[in-house]
Each structure stands twice: as structure tokens, then as C-alpha cells.
């Protein structure tokens, strides 16, 4: 018999390989991408070719004649089974298939079903949709005042507690206008020794997980199972049940492993459509997007950030005003949460008494934007850390010293008024500066090759308030099974959660089995997003394991063992049930305390249960004859509390930083009249192994999150925060020019060099 020997502890802090490592290296791990069901049909989508238009007609005649086509579905068929087929986490604005109007190029208009995907694809090309084109708006700043209105009426969803305040309004593109006021910024600006104002822009980019969006639905007409590559199975169940008017327990959502997510596979993507299609045909239906179609599904907000600071003669920032426009595209998705939750950190991790923030979520006629590894934070850090560097340079101060002078320390209020605790901005800044030898003499290059270095630090509040629930079963042989809805999309959550259970129960983490999201079995979890799982689900898991442990201790007492006896769990069960039988079930849940920001001034005593911090420092060289940049060294430092699995944490940090390096240097969705023109890996360049910095170091600072599970907190996004501004700051350090919009391409650098020489290149 397999002996499970009790061990003392030390499961948290071990760099064990991922529990599923063997199935990943053998190619046998389960993804929805590779899943198929008997009698399954594949749906291929007909997508809008105009950015804004009224649908005059949909001609399916030629497509229906393609041999093998099973059915062609439009919104007319959808409304027969779902009378109000609109979904979304913030607004119920997105139709399952376009109804009367289309709002962006690529919006799904019709679905063609066939057993053979090639047949469905060919037939989809033969569907002819006639549009009356309407005026469109694309720019986020223009959208605020434009007469062109993307949606005539806005319908708030009212699902999440932090978005209860959204209003149903008409004739505006502003989905949310978040305002924060602290102190008296007007007075501080009037009295300032120096005033600095800059505007920074970020471009529209996207997640492109290598497993593209994919969902399968199967139904007998009265209950339904959805197998989906989703980061939020509980939300999918809630939303599908709402759309169908069914109780939640008739919708089962199953999620195996994800081939990447990064915030894209959140809320609802294809699930409502496959659910509707499977109900219409009463056969399993799969939709598996192509790489190109991902460009029409969800993106990261382009943004414009106007930032203005008042600074006194000693280099202390006395006031900051931030105005941020978020380009949400045609459907709000989770943009309003980004606008608010990220918006309130727009002044950066600095101790500033007088603050004014306006953060606007805008609708435009572009593909929808949502969460992407940072929930808006990288866009903000890009602006405030570029701005911070510009101020330091203008004042003749060392950029690290200027930051040190102004950094927000524990015990001081953040812009919302919440007193920060365990927010390691200073520690991360100092460690990054130390690792890059900031105070040592620096070789500035020679001839046409110039060298420079830059540093940046950013922070984020965890999204609050959100709920996680977990169950831990202990079997009669002492092995444990964890039921938790956290989705492992590569971040290693299965392994980290198993380590938490193992730490509590004093068993090796390798012996904990983690049951993947299946809403028939795993309890509610808000979603796998925003670096929330380690903290929120981690606490629920820890409580569930502690509950199981308490029940085991009660069982020991019941069978007559003295307190503190070290009898193996297996023997406890044998003594009680007279054989290897029985189960101990432990449960736990967690929702953090939270005070919503006041709607008039954005103030809150407790806006988040924890803060995450990331700092980056780089050394670069630039060829001034070509604008080509090489990153010689990159240092990433984060405050993750206590690392549960140091090896996985390091990979998360460097992976996030390299992803952000793509958003900083090469990635940009190009548009013409709302049509994305580079929707493939041939034209949209993500980082490959050749794009790595010559040397890369990713470390955590020594930290303990006082309210986290064993001192831990989130890590998935922190590595992205500082990358873009650190590079822009290094560019200025090297060649004296400032890039204010992403991405920082060789062409942009070279143009800036020529412009600085008064010899600008022609467009």
C-alpha cells in the first residue's frame, strides 16, 4: 500500500515542478482546442466588413447549397430561443449575433454549421450581407464629444458589486466617467515652483494566446454542458443561465487547461453563441477561432493620458492632475472596471497631497477592448513613469533620487485615501537600482552607438470585492483532493494551490490532486484575473484545508487519541470506519473587506485588500544611424509577498516582462477605416527567442503580505508594470529624445533623432 508519510511543513516556498508537467511535455494535456464530441458540428462565423452600419439583408442562398452545410443561423433564429440576447460583465451591450446594426469590423453576423470545418468555412464565405454604412468614430478622445454615437442607449448589467453604480444613459460614448479628488490641486498648482504637463499614448494590442478562443456546447434541451477555454467559468454559468432563463444548476461549465489566457478569455467570449447554436440544432457545437479571428474578438485598450504635476523647488510633487481616455471599442466588456480600478492609481506610487483624476471609458467602432495582463495599469505606468523621468531631468535631479523623494511609503494615504500597507514600491525601486548598479559609472557608448539606462516602478490595487470558495476532501488513505475554480492557464495555480493545502495538512504537495473547474463540482470563484487567485482563492483554499484539518483532529479525539498525537491520517479513518473508508470534507470561502470609492470624490478607507508592485531597470544601446535598439540588460523586481513557488514566480515575472517588451517595441494593431490590416503573426510581431534582452534578471523583494495566505499575494501582472517607461527613459538617457507613444520602433527612434537635429524625415 502506498504510504503517505506526514511531513512537518515547508510546502510553501518549495520550487516543485508543475503538477501537470509530464502531461504538458508529452503533448497529452487536455485543452478544449483538442477536444471533440460525437455528432459535433463546427460553426464558422460570418463577420461584419464595415465599422458601423445597418444590416439591410443577409443572403444565405448560395451558402446553403454547399454540400454538407447543416444550418445557417442569424440573430433572427437566436431571438426565438433567447428573446434578449445581449451579454457583458459591465453592460448588457453585446448581442450573440449582430441585431439590425454592426458596430465594428469583424463583429459576428451569422454562423454556418457543418460537420466538416472546411465546408463551414467555405460556405461562410458565400454568405452575402448588405449594409447601409453609417458614420464611425475610432479615436478615444474624439469619441468623448463626437456626434457619432456607437450605442444609442447604454444598459448596465448590475452583476458585480463594484459596478453597481453604472448608469443607463443615452446619446453618449462615455460608458463610465470616474472622478477622484483629494486635497486642493488648483491651489497647489497656483503656488507651485514648477508645473509640468505631458500627454502619452498607447496603441491597441492584443493577447493572442497560442490556443485561440474555443468553446463547445452540448445540450439535451433542458440542461447544458459548456466545455470552454475560459478564465471565468462561474461567470459563464451565471450569464448563460440568465440568458436562457434557467436555474444556474442546469448549466455546467467545464474548463480543462488553457493554452494561455492573459485576460482575454474572461467573462463571455464564444460561450453564449455556442450555447444558442447547440440549443437550435440540439447537437454539440464547437467554435474554434483562427489566429486571425482573435484580432476581431478582444484587445487591450488604446489610451491617451494627459498628466500634469506641480513640483516645489526641493523636488517634491505637491499636486497631480490626470485625465485618461480609454478606447473601449464597440462593446464595454470590462472596460468600466479598468477605467475605475486602474484609474484611481493614475498618479502612481507617489505621496502626493493634492490629486485630481478623470478617467473615461469610451465606446468607439473598433474591436472591443478588455483586460490584458494588468487591467490598464501598464498604460498608466507608461505615462506616469515617463512623466516622472521628464520632471527629474528638467529639475536636474537623479531619476532614482527624485522618485525616492516622492515615493509612497507604508502608513501614508494613496490617492483614494486608503492607507497603504505592505506596498513595496520603495523596496522594489531600491532593489532594481542596486541590481543595475545605478550609482556606478556608466559607459555611454561611442561613435554612432549610444548607451543609456532607465528605471520605472508601478503599482496596482487588487480588484475588490470578489469571492472565492474552495473544498478540500481528505480520503481514507490520507491523500487530499482540492476542488477550486481557479483556472490554470499557465500561471501554475494548480501547483500553488496544492502547496497551500499540503502546507496545512503536512503532506507533500505532489500528493494533492486539484480538480479543475467544473461548475457541477467546483464551488464558485469570481474569475481567474487581476493576479487575484493566489490571494483570494489562496485564502479560501487555506481555510478549506484548515477546516478539514480541524475535522481530522475531531476524528482523532473521537477515536480516543490524545491531543497532538502523530497518528497517520490513514489510521484515523481505519479506527473510525473499520476499513479504508470515509471522507473528510473541508470548506472555506473568502471575500475581502471593501469600501467603495465615494462617487463624488473617489475616496475610500479600504479600496483594496493588497497592492502589487513591479519595477524594471534596463540598459540599452541605440544605433543612431538606424534607430535600432538593443536591450543589453533587463532587471525586473516585484513585491509578491512571500513566493509560494519561487521558480514559477520567477517565470511569471520574466514572462510578463517579455510580453510587455512586445507591447513596447513591436506590437501594434494597424487599422484602416476600422479594419485591422495586420491580423496575423506574419504582420503582427510578438516576441520570439531572438528578441530576449542579452541578460535578464527577475527577482522578488523580501516581503510578507500580512493578510495573505502564508504571506503571499498575486504575481501574474507585476512584471509588466515598469517595462515600457523604463525603456523610454533609457532611450532619452542614451540619445536625448523622448518617445511619448508606444510602440518604440526603430523608425520612431530614428524619426525622433532626425527631428531633434532639425532634419525631420518626410512622412
Amino acid at each position: 500500500m502506498n504510504q503517505i508519510t506526514p511531513i512537518r511543513s515547508g510546502q510553501v516556498g518549495r520550487s516543485i515542478p508543475r503538477l501537470e508537467a509530464t502531461s504538458k511535455v508529452t503533448g497529452r494535456v487536455e485543452y478544449v482546442h483538442t477536444m471533440r464530441l460525437p455528432r459535433m458540428l463546427t460553426a464558422k462565423l460570418v463577420r461584419s466588413t464595415v465599422a458601423s452600419g445597418r444590416i439591410k439583408s443577409i443572403d444565405i442562398e448560395a451558402a446553403s447549397k454547399v454540400p454538407g452545410v447543416y444550418r445557417i443561423v442569424t440573430s433572427e433564429d437566436i431571438v426565438k430561443i433567447i428573446p434578449h440576447p445581449y451579454y457583458g460583465p459591465a453592460f448588457h451591450d453585446q448581442p450573440i449575433l449582430a441585431i439590425d446594426k454592426v458596430h465594428y469590423v469583424g463583429e459576428p453576423v451569422a454562423a454556418v454549421l457543418a460537420s466538416d470545418p472546411h465546408v463551414a468555412e467555405e460556405a461562410a464565405r458565400l454568405v452575402v450581407v448588405d449594409y447601409e454604412e453609417l458614420p464611425a468614430v475610432f479615436d478615444e478622445v474624439e469619441a468623448q464629444k463626437s456626434k457619432v454615437v456607437v450605442h444609442e442607449q447604454l444598459k448596465p448589467a448590475g452583476t458585480f458589486p463594484d459596478l453597481k453604480h453604472l448608469h443607463g444613459v443615452r446619446d453618449t460614448n462615455v460608458a463610465l466617467d470616474f472622478q477622484l479628488k483629494r486635497g486642493d490641486s488648483g491651489k497647489a498648482f497656483a503656488e507651485a515652483d514648477h508645473v509640468f504637463e505631458h500627454t502619452f499614448k498607447t496603441q491597441q494590442v492584443l493577447h493572442v494566446p497560442l490556443e485561440p478562443y474555443v468553446s463547445i456546447a452540448e445540450t439535451n434541451g433542458t440542461s447544458m454542458t459548456i466545455h470552454t477555454a475560459s478564465q471565468s467559468p462561474s461567470f459563464v454559468r451565471l450569464e448563460i443561465a440568465r440568458l436562457l432563463g434557467w436555474p444556474e444548476n442546469r448549466v455546467r461549465v467545464r474548463v480543462p487547461f488553457l493554452g494561455g489566457g492573459f485576460g482575454g478569455k474572461l467573462y463571455i467570449k464564444l460561450e453564449a453563441l455556442v450555447a444558442a447554436l447547440s440549443l437550435i440544432v440540439l447537437r454539440p457545437v464547437k467554435i474554434s477561432l483562427t489566429m486571425e479571428e482573435q484580432f476581431y474578438t478582444l484587445t487591450k485598450h488604446a489610451s491617451t493620458f494627459r498628466i500634469k504635476s506641480a513640483v516645489n523647488k526641493d523636488g517634491k510633487v505637491t499636486a497631480r492632475e490626470c485625465e485618461v481616455w480609454w478606447n473601449g471599442g464597440a462593446y464595454a466588456d470590462i472596460g468600466p472596471r479598468i477605467t475605475q480600478k486602474s484609474g484611481f492609481t493614475a498618479p502612481g506610487p507617489y505621496d502626493i497631497d493634492n490629486i485630481k483624476i478623470d478617467s473615461y471609458a469610451l465606446y468607439t467602432n473598433l474591436p472591443p477592448a478588455g483586460a490584458l495582463r494588468g487591467f490598464g495599469i501598464p498604460q498608466l505606468v507608461w505615462a506616469y513613469e515617463s512623466h516622472t523621468d521628464l520632471i527629474a531631468r528638467a529639475l536636474g535631479m537623479d531619476p532614482v533620487e527624485f522618485r525616492r523623494e516622492n515615493i509612497l511609503r507604508d502608513g501614508r494615504p494613496q490617492a483614494t485615501g486608503t492607507i497603504v500597507k505592505d506596498m513595496g514600491a520603495e523596496a522594489c525601486l531600491e532593489r532594481a537600482a542596486q541590481l543595475i548598479n545605478w550609482t556606478a559609472p556608466f559607459d555611454r557608448g561611442k561613435g554612432t552607438i549610444k548607451r543609456g539606462r532607465g528605471i520605472a516602478v508601478g503599482f496596482k490595487a487588487s480588484i475588490s470585492p470578489t469571492t472565492s470558495v474552495a473544498v478540500v476532501n481528505v480520503a481514507a488513505d490520507g491523500s487530499a483532493t482540492l476542488f477550486c475554480g481557479t483556472v490554470d492557464m499557465g500561471q501554475g495555480s494548480d501547483t500553488a494551490m496544492a502547496q497551500l493545502v499540503a502546507e496545512v495538512l503536512n503532506i507533500p504537495a505532489e500528493l494533492v490532486h486539484v480538480v479543475h473547474s467544473d461548475t457541477d463540482i467546483t464551488p464558485y470563484d469570481m474569475a481567474t484575473l487581476g493576479s487575484r487567485s493566489t490571494f483570494h482563492m489562496g485564502l479560501a483554499v487555506k481555510r478549506a484545508a484548515e477546516d478539514a484539518k480541524a475535522k481530522l483532529e475531531a476524528m482523532a479525539k473521537e477515536v480516543g487519541l490524545p491531543p497532538g498525537s502523530n497518528v497517520p491520517i490513514r489510521e484515523l479513518f481505519e479506527r473510525k470506519y473499520k476499513m479504508q473508508a470515509g471522507t473528510v470534507v473541508g470548506t472555506g470561502d473568502y471575500i475581502p473587506p471593501y469600501v467603495p470609492p465615494d462617487h463624488s470624490n473617489g475616496q475610500s478607507d479600504n479600496v483594496t485588500p493588497f497592492w502589487m508592485v513591479g519595477a524594471t531597470a534596463v540598459e540599452i544601446e541605440i544605433d543612431t544611424e538606424t534607430g535600432h535598439m538593443r536591450i543589453e540588460r533587463m532587471i525586473n523586481v516585484a513585491d509578491v509577498g512571500r513566493a509560494i513557488n519561487p521558480q514559477i514566480v520567477e517565470t511569471q515575472l520574466s514572462g510578463a516582462a517579455i510580453m510587455q517588451l512586445g507591447f513596447t517595441t513591436t506590437e501594434k494593431m494597424e487599422f484602416e477605416a476600422g479594419q485591422v490590416t495586420n491580423a496575423s503573426f506574419a504582420d503582427y510581431k510578438i516576441p520570439g527567442i531572438q528578441d530576449l534582452p542579452d541578460s535578464m534578471t527577475s527577482v522578488v523583494v523580501d516581503a510578507n503580505q500580512h493578510n495573505g495566505p502564508f504571506g503571499a499575494k498575486g504575481v501574474g501582472e507585476s512584471g509588466t508594470f515598469g517595462v515600457s517607461p523604463a525603456i523610454a527613459n533609457a532611450v532619452e538617457d542614451a540619445i536625448g529624445v523622448r518617445i511619448t507613444s508606444l510602440p518604440i520602433t526603430p523608425e520612431k527612434i530614428y524619426r525622433a533623432i532626425r527631428a531633434a537635429q532639425n532634419e525631420p524625415l518626410e512622412d
Binding site: 483538442t34 494561455g260 510580453m659 535578464m696
Partner: protein, 162 residues
């Protein structure tokens, strides 16, 4: 068998197989539809990401672009052929020990290309590693760990050979 189909025979992971293929089907579709082998996966569909890598007659190919009928008479190896379930290939072991993946979707392609690299260069330097793996993309960006894994695999293979 439809009129368009063609019967082909080839060696798949060391075993002879015979199957009917449609002319427009790719190697990935053949492996998935006829043999339930899912280690080669289509992602970018342009031969740029390496997720669909399979080895035909000893050369790595992009299975999303390589037509199924072209493997008639060939030897085909996939990631599933590297281990019998009991013992992993040294390259697979190295990827686990170095933590060289996150979501795992691209991993079979990286492992097969690493084997190709080590067959040609048993002790590769950084430039050779980057050159051989330039056609494989990892959106989780576990590249630093992948470089470590390749070096670890090289030393494991040399130990086996010694």
C-alpha cells in the same frame, strides 16, 4: 472512401500505418482526426509559431501547412513518440526540471526542435539555441527557462552517451 481520397502508408512513431486522406487535409488534421494525436496543434496556421511541429523523414515541418498526402512512404515522428509513458526523453525531463513552459501549448514544438538542435549540435551555444528555436513562439515567454532547458538536455544526453 470518397473519390477524392487517396490511400497512403507511412511509419508513425515507429509503427507502420495505412490510412485514407483527403487532398486538402494537413498533417495536423491527419494526426488528430485519424490517430488521436494532439501534441501537434494548429495555432497561427501560417507556419510561424511552431505549435504544429512534427518530424518527417528526420526534418521538422510545420504540420499546419504540410499536406497529409505528402507523408506517403515517409517516417513521421510526433511528441507522443518520444516516451512510452514509463520513461521520458532527456529533453522532456530537462524541460520539466528547468520549468521551461507555462501553459504548455507550444511545448511539444519546442521539444521536437530542441531534439533537432541537439542532433546537429550536441553542445550548442546561445546563438545556436536562439537560431534553432527562432521559429517557435511562446506567448507565455518562458524563453529564459527554455534556453536553460536546452543546455540541461545537452548535458543529460552527453551523460547518456558517455
Amino acid at each position: 472512401m470518397g473519390p477524392m481520397k487517396k490511400t497512403i502508408s507511412f511509419q508513425l512513431n515507429g509503427r507502420p500505418v495505412t490510412v485514407d486522406v483527403a487532398p486538402h487535409h494537413t498533417l495536423v488534421e491527419l494526426l488528430q482526426n485519424e490517430f488521436d494525436l494532439f501534441g501537434a496543434r494548429e495555432s497561427c496556421a501560417q507556419g510561424l509559431c511552431g505549435c504544429c511541429t512534427a518530424v518527417v523523414n528526420g526534418e521538422a515541418v510545420s504540420g499546419c501547412l504540410y499536406l497529409a498526402s505528402f507523408v506517403d512512404g515517409a517516417t513521421v515522428e510526433t511528441v507522443e513518440g518520444l516516451s512510452d509513458g514509463a520513461k521520458l526523453d532527456p529533453v522532456q525531463e530537462a524541460f520539466i526540471e528547468a520549468g521551461a513552459f507555462q501553459c504548455g501549448f507550444c511545448t511539444p514544438g519546442f521539444i521536437l526542435m530542441t531534439k533537432q538542435l541537439l542532433d546537429a549540435h550536441p553542445a550548442p551555444d546561445d546563438d545556436q539555441i536562439r537560431h534553432y528555436l527562432a521559429g517557435n513562439l511562446c506567448r507565455c515567454a518562458a524563453y529564459p527557462e527554455i534556453v536553460k532547458a536546452v543546455k540541461l538536455a545537452a548535458s543529460k544526453r552527453q551523460k547518456v552517451a558517455a
